[in-house]
């Protein structure tokens, strides 16, 4: 299977803080990969490094065969990588439709075409009823939906979702999981940063665990949740998922 995203020896420091240290992993096309770890582990920083918001001190990021380090975020989006933000950032005074159209203009500058594409994306995330609402009036989950629709409207090949489920209730998490499943079925490659383990186990085929900016484990979900380091650093000894993996410290 072809590799969609390859990250090699990525490092970034902010002053004395080593936010990301020598991290490498890769994502196959049409695969869903989850990036997990405690707060401050470097997950969001990794996203910012991949999508051009920060410039790495060392290492390389390549997607679909092209080096991304040094490109600006909009170039990276044009190359087929779309992201969402941890805290949703809708264009508040625009309607839902106008928000998503702004994304669709990347591929086609004609308003009618952009409008049609935007409607598709809005429909896909289940936000059609609120097409004409100002984005600032949306609830948290609807703002997340909007972000996803806006990202999808840019017609990405790889979608990076930063904690799309934070702050959602269990029913909403189920909806979000279903949505990500649907995207994955359409052949989209997905990288997801998440804390909700239930959701991760449902969507991810591969998990990378970060702690203090370093990769401490990697593998399929069952392997990772059984890993002693992962339990110590992140999941906690109370976390039991099937196998009685080496608990305690």
């Amino acid at each position: 299977m072809a590799e969609a995203l390859v990250i090699r020896n990525l490092s970034k420091r902010f002053g004395g803080l080593r936010a990301v240290q020598d991290v490498s992993f890769s994502v196959n096309e049409a695969e869903t990969l989850a990036l997990i770890g405690p707060n401050g582990a470097g997950k969001t920083t990794s996203f910012n490094l991949i999508t051009g918001y920060h410039r790495p001190d060392a290492g390389s990021v390549s997607a679909f065969g092209r080096e991304l380090v040094g490109l600006r975020p909009h170039d990276i989006c044009a190359h087929g990588l779309a992201r969402t933000f941890q805290v949703a950032r809708p264009f508040g005074k625009m309607t839902v439709l106008a928000n998503v159209m702004t994304g669709a203009f990347l591929r086609n500058k004609k308003p009618e075409v952009a409008r049609a594409r935007a409607r598709e994306a809005i429909n896909f995330v289940g936000l059609s009823a609120k097409e004409h609402s100002p984005a600032r009036d949306l609830t948290t989950i609807d703002q997340r939906r909007l972000e996803m629709a806006r990202a999808l409207a840019t017609e990405p090949r790889l979608l990076l979702l930063d904690e799309v489920m934070a702050g959602l209730n269990p029913a909403e998490i189920d909806q979000a999981v279903a949505l990500i499943g649907k995207l994955s079925q359409r052949g989209l490659t997905i990288v997801i940063v998440e804390h909700v383990m239930r959701a991760i186990m449902a969507v991810a085929r591969h998990i990378v665990v970060l702690d203090h900016g370093q990769k401490i484990a990697e593998g399929d979900p069952q392997q990772v949740v059984a890993n002693a380091d992962v339990i110590r650093a992140y999941l906690g000894t109370g976390y039991v998922h099937g196998a009685p993996g080496g608990g305690g410290c």
Binding site: R83, R89, M101
Partner: protein, 335 residues
């Protein structure tokens, strides 16, 4: 393409008809002078609003382009005998060229820092023209040669002619805004104004779109500069690069409603009318009273309607001002 609804066309027709007969209906030179100022500042406001309103790049240095337009056409006229009709376009081009390095410097900054940097650019240009005495008459400025009625040299006996030129410029400014608002550019500008990082994430080249709108805004502002100097027959650095022009451009848009097609027009009409009325009621005898009242009204408006007075009008009648990307409330971008 978005169609204007028929009530919109109707209102626009009524407005245009009133604007066209106004100098005939009110043949008072003093009144026409006020009308011309209203049209001119509305036009400058429209030019400013493209960048300051839609993309929220709060420039307080548009006098730079006003002055460059004014000086370009005046130098061409006096030194080379070139008609201001050509000079006005040359001034626009000079302003566009100047906006590139100015933009490259200022767009590195955001928010208030950007505003301060733009003030500095206009001030630096003013100083340059104050010091370059051989090149452009220095601080004392110069009067324009009075050629009597010379339409080809943009000089007219009747004030009405200037009125119609200003009206035409405003119409052009509004038409440009209308087209931009409904195109992808309008959406990109509002997106930049709302959240630059989020705009980048969905493929908006924020630096490029800012540069482009700055070019257009500078060009239009320069036209106003040439026109104004042709109208008052005098130029000096303090007039051409007046900080007042920069402030007024922003003020009329903010009071009227930034990021809306008609906001700067509404703002100018209200501010100029208020200012003119206060001046005639309170006169100059009370020294500064009229300015104080004017400022109080301004503060009241900004506290009461921080999004601009246009909202008051559109709340009552939401048709004339058509919803672009910036106008979420009144439904559709469909249609």
């Amino acid at each position: 393409m978005h169609r204007l609804s028929s009530p919109g066309v109707l209102w626009l027709g009524i407005l245009a008809a009133i604007a066209l007969v106004l100098p005939v209906a009110v043949p008072n030179a003093f009144a026409i002078d006020i009308f011309i100022r209203v049209l001119l500042f509305a036009f400058i406001g429209v030019a400013w609003n493209l960048m300051g309103g839609y993309a929220k790049q709060l420039s307080l240095g548009h006098a730079a382009y006003f002055g460059l337009g004014a000086y370009t056409s005046t130098i061409l006229l006096i030194r080379f005998g070139v008609s201001p009709w050509i000079g006005i376009l040359a001034g626009g081009v000079v302003a566009m060229l100047a906006s590139l390095p100015i933009g490259a410097l200022c767009f590195r900054l955001r928010g208030p820092y950007f505003a301060i940097a733009t003030i500095a650019t206009a001030q630096v240009l003013m100083l340059l023209f104050l010091k370059f005495r051989d090149f452009a008459w220095g601080a004392e400025g110069t009067t324009l040669p009075n050629l009597g009625d010379a339409p080809l040299m943009m000089q007219f006996e009747s004030k009405a002619a200037y009125y119609y030129i200003a009206l035409a410029m405003l119409a052009v400014g509004l038409a440009v805004t209308y087209r931009i608002e409904r195109s992808w550019m309008g959406y990109y500008l509002v997106a930049v104004g709302e959240d630059e990082d989020a705009a980048e994430a969905i493929g908006v080249d924020t630096l490029r779109i800012k540069r482009h709108i700055y070019l257009i805004s500078a060009f239009l502002t320069a036209l106003a500069g040439t026109f104004y100097i042709q109208y008052i027959y005098f130029i000096d650095p303090n007039t051409a690069f007046s900080f007042n022009v920069s402030v007024e451009a922003a003020l009329v848009s903010i009071v009227g409603g930034i990021g809306t097609l008609w906001g700067p027009v509404v703002g100018t009409v209200l501010l100029e009318a208020t200012s003119a009325l206060l001046q005639s009621w309170l006169g100059s005898g009370h020294g500064g009273v009229q300015l104080t009242v004017y400022s109080l009204i301004l503060i009241a408006v900004i506290l009461w309607r921080p999004t601009g007075l246009i909202g008051v009008i559109t709340d009552g009648y939401g048709r004339l001002v058509h919803p672009g990307p910036a106008r979420a409330q009144e439904a559709p971008l469909d249609g």
